[in-house]
Symmetry: C2
Subunit: 192 residues, 2 copies
């Protein structure tokens, strides 16, 4: 029941989405310094002028990209299926080892050096973090009224983030599977 | 009983160390892109010519800096005092939230985008990781012949890395203390 859009509006929206996805891809590939508007426009197959129509400045483009990554990560979290605890934990950890986490990592590190990016990234990161926690509690069937349960779940998400970081330079899959299996057993006991 | 050094050699060594420390500081402050040899030399209070005498190329300088950070992190690990488990875990986690971790994080992310840095950073990271694991096992009195113990300790170090990342954009100390206290209790039980 959304507003009716014209083909022109659809095309404009598609171009915008392509630019945001390209901004994220360029950030993961070239880092913040290498990701100029020109580089991103080229990656998206869009003219520099069209890119600037959508995003007048580089900050506009990357603020949009930060939001885009946050929304994609939230959507991925909400799409996690209800399964047994070990499967839920494995699926949560998987979200931290894919391309969205890599993009978020590039944004965090860029934001720690770039004052223009920092407030927006910090705010959205807090939002995604709260959402990840809420969804983890729900899918794990964790009773947060019991002492320590809240911190147990938080620690799991911290571990997932650390596993994501360990996977940036090398393929850490084999080691990660064993660590996750062991901690899934420990957490299952701790959560009762 | 080391070789006798002349005052000139001592000065040269001190300049070299200052350049490496400055390379790390610049990386944490300006990221890879902003950390040119000129910027690092200025930060160290050394002429560009003197900097180039020690490190002919930017890659030489940052390869040296990667090694310097790895050595400092190893030294910090080896200096951890023998204490009760909760204190050991808190001290281990602290190593991942300080300036050396931030510098290492900048190097990881730079290495993921810069082919020249990648092999050296990956190799040294693996070395520091093995050392962290060995020291953690020792200080925690963990018996790795028991099934699951190895992965339990690895998961703790992954969590510490994730907590370090959570501390990059905001001061996460208060939340982190509670998470670490809870996970220390879980680990104590799991390690027996």
């Amino acid at each position: 029941m959304g507003a009716v859009t014209t083909p022109k509006q659809d095309r404009s929206r598609a171009t915008r989405q392509r630019l945001l996805a390209s901004a994220v891809a360029c950030l993961a590939e070239h880092g913040w310094a290498g990701s100029t508007v020109t580089v991103v426009a080229e990656h998206a197959g869009v003219s520099r002028g069209a890119a600037q129509h959508h995003f007048p400045t580089r900050e506009d483009l990357f603020t949009g990209a930060v939001e885009y990554v946050a929304e994609e990560r939230s959507a991925a979290l909400r799409a996690l299926p209800v399964q047994d605890r070990a499967a839920v934990i494995a699926a949560l950890v998987d979200l931290y080892t894919g391309p969205l986490f890599r993009a978020a990592l590039q944004l965090w590190v860029a934001a720690s050096n770039e004052a223009q990016l920092r407030p927006r990234v910090t705010e959205l990161e807090a939002r995604v973090g709260r959402e990840a926690h809420r969804i983890a509690v729900e899918l794990l069937g964790a009773d947060e009224s019991r002492p320590g349960v809240r911190e147990t779940v938080q620690g799991l998400l911290d571990m997932a983030r650390g596993l994501g970081l360990a996977n940036v330079l090398t393929d850490d899959t084999a080691r990660r599977r064993k660590v996750v299996a062991q901690w899934a057993a420990l957490l299952d006991e701790a959560l009762g």
